[in-house]
């Protein structure tokens, strides 16, 4: 069953997330992805997250596709103009990739090539419009395509926005849905009470919202995220639990599994589990969450 079929049939979706390597050796990448085989329904392949140079999302997707896994191709406007974006979208379709996800992309100044010139020819809404247009069989210039690409289109949703910006984020969600978005992935969720309040403001039927569950690795990492990453708060009990636990990795897995299970109980249509470097722990999270 494809990701799109699963979303449409309302079955619980588990997305993995595997970032391609910085280098031309994909062997560890494939090994990690293989560990999740059969446990995740699709794998999101980030496009140079945090503007740090890595092999491209399209490259990672092509590898996973060849291995018989279902990838989600990420696209952002930072590094490509409308020609390059459309070219990659067509190539992805030709490679059999069925899912794309339009993301804002962090600014180059945050990454490891801060001297780069950002492109931003299209903005996020423009990119979604482009995806919609290509799926009608024409490119942005209105010229007929040979072979029409078809995708299940996703994007992101920032649940951490506060005050007026939250209204704006919800307004943007509406626009995204109008532009054909079938699913959105949120920022990492730890504070379920706060997330529940957010979900109450959503019209759940409109689109599938997949919260991200980030596997913490230490109390230090949790504290860092809580203090420094905008819009993400981690309950202090959670940080304390990791600190006190005799087996810290096990405690981190337990926390992630618990969040996954509770999100499922809340009626969320799925989750994205981000294990960054601890890919071997993914199945344990799912086991403990009874998925």
């Amino acid at each position: 069953m494809t990701l799109q079929d699963r979303i449409r049939s309302g079955k619980f979706v588990v997305l993995g997330e595997f970032e391609p390597p910085k280098g031309a050796d994909f062997s560890a990448y494939l090994k990690n992805a293989n560990l999740s085989r059969g446990r995740v329904h699709a794998v999101v392949v980030p496009e140079m997250a945090n503007a740090v140079l890595k092999a491209s999302s399209l490259g990672g997707c092509a590898y996973l596709q060849r291995e018989g896994m279902e990838p989600v191709f990420q696209l952002c406007c930072r590094d490509r103009n409308r020609l390059a974006l459309q070219a990659d979208i067509l190539s992805a379709a030709a490679l059999g990739i069925r899912n794309v996800m339009a993301v804002p992309g962090e600014d180059v100044r945050f990454g490891d090539h801060p001297q780069a010139r950002a492109v931003n020819d299209l903005d996020l809404m423009g990119l979604l419009e482009t995806l919609q247009k290509l799926q009608t069989g024409k490119d942005l210039a209105g010229i007929e395509l040979r072979g029409v690409p078809r995708f299940c289109v996703g994007s992101t949703l920032d649940t951490g926005a506060s005050g007026g910006l939250l209204n704006i984020e919800l307004e943007h969600l509406k626009r995204k849905i109008d532009l054909g978005v079938e699913f959105v992935v949120t920022n990492p969720i730890f504070d379920l009470r706060r997330f529940e309040q957010f979900v109450r403001r959503l019209d759940a039927k409109q689109t599938a919202v997949f919260p991200t569950v980030l596997l913490l690795k230490s109390a230090g990492m949790a504290r860092y995220i809580d203090r420094n990453i905008k819009g993400i708060s981690i309950p202090s009990e959670m940080i304390r639990d990791i600190q006190k636990a005799p087996d810290k990795p096990q405690e981190c897995i337990r926390i992630a599994a618990n969040i996954v299970a509770r999100l499922k109980d809340m009626g969320m249509p799925g989750v994205l589990i981000s294990t960054v470097g601890w890919e071997d722990k993914l199945s344990q999270i799912l086991d403990q969450a009874n998925i």
Binding site: P104, E106, R109, G164, N187
Partner: protein, 222 residues
Amino acid sequence: MIVAKQKPIEEIIETLKGYNKILILGCNECVTVCEAGGKKEVAVLASALRMYFMNQGQEVKIEEATLERQCDHEYLEEIRKTVDQYDAVLSLACGVGVQFLAEKYMHTPILPGVDTCFMGVTEERGVWSERCQGCGQCILAWTAGICPVSRCAKRLLNGPCGGSSKGKCEINKEVPCAWQIIIDRLNELGRMEDYERLIPIKDWSTERAGGPRKVVREDVRS
């Protein structure tokens, strides 16, 4: 106005190497306002250079002049008779002035003394900031008079990214988020319906992407 800032003196000295008679040429317009290349800056730079060359035991003659503008033939003509006396001209005008000089005076090396930065405003004395990128297709009517092309780090045309925080841009806490200003103003003006309209995919061909640009008005051409 065009905002520029003076180049570090070491860089200027490097480009002046080998020239013995130099004219430092200021401009009375934008670079005077942003205190980078007006009469005053010409005088200060000239004395610094004289001092430097004297300390080095080099005999280099530095002269000063400031034109009304360096982007008009009329004013550039004022140095036609004297320009050949110099081994080089160090222009403190923006890149426009430097080039117009270079195009006009084929036999004299023309060097830049400032880095031209952007089109902007004087927020307060000593603080200048960008307002326009000359994209050739103004959308300010729909964005409450605030430009997301020049003031949003990602040039977003349809609302803020997720990075906007407490009115500041995610790339730099000193920089206001353009979209926060736009939304605040639209609210203030009671025109939030402008926000709801999706700005179409921008045609950048009128921007620099379309190559060097030119405006021709037949009706005023002589």
